[in-house]
């Protein structure tokens, strides 16, 4: 085991964190198998039997809702010879059947039966259900962990919870639902991406081509370098980056004029919704003015969920999950889909430039053992300091949590 305190200083980290395979393996055990990992949003599992397949760290899992309505997260692995029992990305299933020797499991993971059971002596089926993870959820966000000793999700999220509540207001009076995702990989370490959603400093540089493609008012909104934004350490590696303070609470200022760019949307809703509902929908349609970064794998980022998954020390998968208004007007959800496509995804106006920058960081990390990453920019927001939108507070918070978990 490395001396992690030597590699993570308060204001800089060593680049071996991006490229050392032994560190990567240890991260899997000490972080991804020890803490709460986001696995799904409740809107992905509205009905009993609904499931998705995903990963906790490197391990394949099924997330489903059983017939009693309980959300379960189970290792996607037959107890007999270890084949995956489900390869569909999502669906509705009465249970799971291993294709190899036809062992069958019910929705709650219990082993229901297998062919020719007489071949087993002293065999208690109840010992051989699918392996279950601990599951807890907060405001629609479902998390799982392998660690029975981990603190409750409530305690783990702590001061991030009010920010999650604010983020979910972009349902505009409706519950938030997922609406599909852009999934892509980049050849770099997962922490490079973890840093990025707390990094306002890169925005005007990397995303210049996105900014110039916007209408004047929207470009103005994204020119947040001197607009009172800040980054705040929320504890346990979580942080919030507030870029557009006027869009923190989407239930406030509903009496302000509807921005010109949403005038057509507002007009098309007239007659079907009340004036207040229309104002709420239009204010929520472009998302919140902040990113809540939840260590280690989720960011509730302005108008979408950013989910990262480490694949190898130098390979990371990112999903940008679009979200919308469940039961809300089609026009509003179409507007959200188009906004998502505009910035996100492998053909978006933002993501490919981010991915290029992250790949360059990984390539640069091979430039020798003396190389350190600077995290010393800007002042933290505290009770008596308004902070700085470009402060690297969120990265400092995440790496301090990383160091605590890796050294524990």
């Amino acid at each position: 085991m490395s001396d992690y305190a030597e590699l993570v200083k308060p204001d800089q980290v060593h680049t071996s964190l991006y490229r050392d395979e032994a560190i990567f393996d240890e991260e899997q055990q000490r972080i991804f198998e020890k803490t709460w990992i986001w696995v799904a949003h409740e809107s992905e599992l509205p009905n009993p039997g609904d499931f998705i397949t995903t990963y906790v760290g490197l391990k394949p899992v099924i997330v489903n809702r059983d017939k009693k309505g309980v959300v379960r997260v189970m290792l996607n692995k037959c107890r007999h010879r270890g084949a995956t029992v489900c390869e569909a990305k999502k669906g509705n299933a009465p249970g799971f059947l291993c294709p190899y020797h036809a062992w069958t499991y019910s929705q709650d993971g219990a082993l229901r039966g297998m062919p020719l059971p007489k071949g087993y002596k002293d065999f208690d089926k109840s010992d051989y259900g699918l392996i279950q993870l601990r599951v807890e959820s907060y405001n629609g966000l479902i998390f799982a962990t392998f660690n029975e000793e981990a603190p409750s999700l409530d305690e783990f999220l702590g001061r991030a919870k009010p920010w999650i509540d604010l983020f979910m207001k972009q349902g505009g009076g409706f519950p938030v639902k997922t609406m599909g995702e852009h999934r892509f990989t980049f050849p770099g370490n997962w922490k490079i991406q973890l840093e990025n959603t707390t990094d306002a400093y890169h925005f005007p540089v990397v995303h210049k081509s996105f900014l110039t493609s916007l209408d004047g008012d929207t470009e103005e909104l994204f020119s947040f370098m001197n607009d009172g934004g800040f980054v705040e350490d929320l504890g346990n590696g979580h942080s919030v980056l507030v870029m557009i303070p006027s869009l923190v609470d989407l239930d406030e200022n509903l009496d302000e004029p509807i921005p010109e760019r949403f005038a057509d949307l507002a007009k098309s809703l007239e007659g079907r919704y009340s004036d207040l509902e229309i104002r709420r929908i239009c204010r929520a349609v472009s998302g919140a003015g902040f990113n809540v970064n939840l260590f280690p794998n989720l960011a509730c980022s302005m108008a979408f969920f950013r989910v990262l998954r480490p694949l190898a020390v130098d390979q990371t998968e990112i999903r940008h999950i679009a979200i919308g208004m469940d039961g809300g007007p089609d026009e509003a959800n179409q507007a959200r889909l188009r906004l998502h496509e505009h910035f996100q995804g492998p053909m978006g106006f933002g993501t490919p430039d981010d991915a290029e920058a992250w790949e360059r960081v990984q390539r640069g990390s091979h430039a020798g053992d003396q190389s350190w990453i600077m995290l010393n920019r800007g002042e933290d927001k505290t009770d008596d300091n308004p902070g700085d939108v470009t402060a690297e507070t969120g990265m400092r918070a995440a790496y301090q949590m990383w160091e605590r978990m890796m050294s524990a």
Binding site: E181, V206, D353
Partner: protein, 160 residues
Amino acid sequence: MSGNNTMQDAIEFIWAEVDMLDHGEFQDWLKLWTEDGKYVIPIDQDAPDFENSLNYAYDDAAMRDMRVRRLTSGQSMSATNAAKIMRTVSRFRLLKSDDPNVITIRCAQNLVEFKYEKLRNYPSNVTYVLVKDGDTFRIREKIVRLINSQGALAGMTFLL
């Protein structure tokens, strides 16, 4: 134009269109479209309604225009350092031509990109709806269904 000649003309039009994309002649490419033309790169290839689905691209004229400006502006670090690309298009099949002025064609496209020592393939089924315009065509719809559209892609610095 009629019968086989229309098909042959349409194939030559499509070859010219993709040749423009491979060679970065984007301003000429923008002129190939009808005003209401849609350029769609879906994620869910069987989605009944692309407008109500998340796509990689769902572009009207304004969005195509912005896309071209982004690729050529020098402001995008990935586009400035764009991959080298080349594609072949073949296996043309006439799907529909009941209106003599409108022709629907499906073809196979294989695009290869090279960047950072890596060669990647982007195979797709492409469906064109072409509208006759004098002795040439305009594109009313181009839908590019990547065979790995549900897979994890990498940043694209080109147009499919």
